[in-house]
């Protein structure tokens, strides 16, 4: 009890004016804006795929891009909420990426069925995974750095969401840059590694976001 009183006195003595953290929606918008600028710059440097106008005529390509964009937006909001110990008391939205994941799987399933006869596989394979990973590194570092300033009590989940969010930026960039219509290749070398990164994030989150 004596120790308790000493601790309370010590903490109270350290109490200086503290500016509260921004609202998580504002934080999410900052993350989205930074990643969007990065994506636009990357596309400006690397160039858009020459057949983009034609690709946008294909409904499953459009659905895939929308699903990726939504994944990026929903995971950004989720990451911002997960930075707060109580998830800013918006638990439903913090765990919304689970719904997004289910929707993404459905889109992929339908796109796969629609790919008949299957588009020819490109000559390359793992190079796509490497490109996405390299492009995702900066948004991942930036988001982890931002989240470390707060106090996540769900660091495993937060780590996973951060990596999926960053990899969705990389995947979006490659889909808008690379001329490739093979959904098999895209699932195998773009999206499976993205979700593998999400699993890796469970471990990484524990290391980086522990406080």
């Amino acid at each position: 009890m004596e120790d308790f009183e000493i601790l309370v006195a010590k903490l109270a003595n350290d109490a200086v004016t503290v500016s509260p953290a921004p609202h998580p929606y504002l934080l999410a918008l900052k993350l989205i804006t930074a990643a969007a600028i990065y994506l636009v710059l990357s596309l400006a440097i690397s160039g858009l795929r020459p057949d983009l106008a034609q690709a946008l005529q294909q409904p499953w390509f459009v659905a895939e891009i929308i699903a990726l964009l939504l994944t990026f937006i929903v995971t950004s909001f989720s990451a911002a909420l997960l930075a707060f110990p109580d998830l800013y008391q918006k638990r439903g939205l913090a765990f919304a990426p689970l719904w997004m994941f289910a929707m993404f799987l459905l889109v992929m399933l339908f796109a796969w069925h629609a790919d008949s006869p299957p588009a020819p596989l490109p000559a390359h394979s793992y190079q796509c995974t490497i490109c996405i990973t390299l492009l995702a590194m900066l948004p991942a570092m930036w988001t982890f750095y931002t989240l470390r300033k707060y106090a996540s009590t769900h660091y495993h989940w937060a780590g996973s969401i951060v990596l999926i969010s960053a990899f969705s930026v990389g995947a979006l960039w490659l889909r808008l840059h690379e001329v490739n219509d093979s959904i098999t290749h895209v699932i195998e070398w773009h999206y499976l590694p993205m979700f593998a990164a999400g699993i890796l994030g469970l471990w990484l989150g524990k290391i980086i976001l522990r406080w």
Partner: protein, 178 residues
């Protein structure tokens, strides 16, 4: 309701650097969280240790509270997090120090029918244990209840019963070996 609203006000004042409000807030928070921890941990010293960790965490994370949402869920989220962290570390520690039975096999005495310990000597030592651990051991080993049933009977969580039983075995072993 009035008390809860008071906590939000106290936290807002604390964020503005009001030391007196902060002292009061920490005391009120401890008053709220102590029973929560006591229900989940078996020893008072542990409750006090985790409570202090919770208060330090609240201090570190106070910038994540803006005064626009209820204070209690925020504080309890941190308390739950620190409690889980503490239990996780406790179990990891137990695993690290757990002896591998296969390594001990060669050192075991062959005579398994004669033992220095009998039912009476164990029962005597169980009676010397603090009330709660003794009750847990009695219920589990004399009356044959499962950890889940004991938890329901004593108003504890199943994991708290297992932790308490584990600690009681250690004390029991130490006392029997003396």
């Amino acid at each position: 309701m009035e008390k809860n609203a008071g906590l939000e006000v106290l936290m807002r004042q604390s964020l503005e650097g009001d030391k007196r409000a902060y002292t009061e807030l920490l005391r009120e928070t401890a008053r709220l969280i102590r029973p929560f921890l006591a229900k989940r941990l078996s020893f008072e010293s542990e409750v006090e240790d985790v409570l202090q960790e919770v208060l330090i965490s609240i201090h570190k994370a106070r910038h994540t509270y803006d005064g626009n949402r209820p204070y209690k869920p925020w504080a309890f989220a941190i308390a739950k997090f620190r409690l889980q962290d503490n239990l996780r570390m406790h179990y990891a520690d137990q695993l690290r120090h757990a002896e591998d039975f296969s390594e001990q096999e060669n050192n075991l005495h062959m005579d398994v029918t004669e033992s220095a310990f009998n039912y009476e000597s164990i029962s005597r030592v169980v009676h010397q244990l603090p009330e709660k651990p003794a009750a847990i051991l009695r219920l589990m080993h004399q009356e044959g209840y499962t950890a889940k049933e004991v938890a329901e009977k004593l108003g504890m969580t199943e994991s708290a019963v297992k932790v308490a039983a584990h600690r009681a075995y250690k004390i029991l072993r130490k006392k029997l070996e003396q």
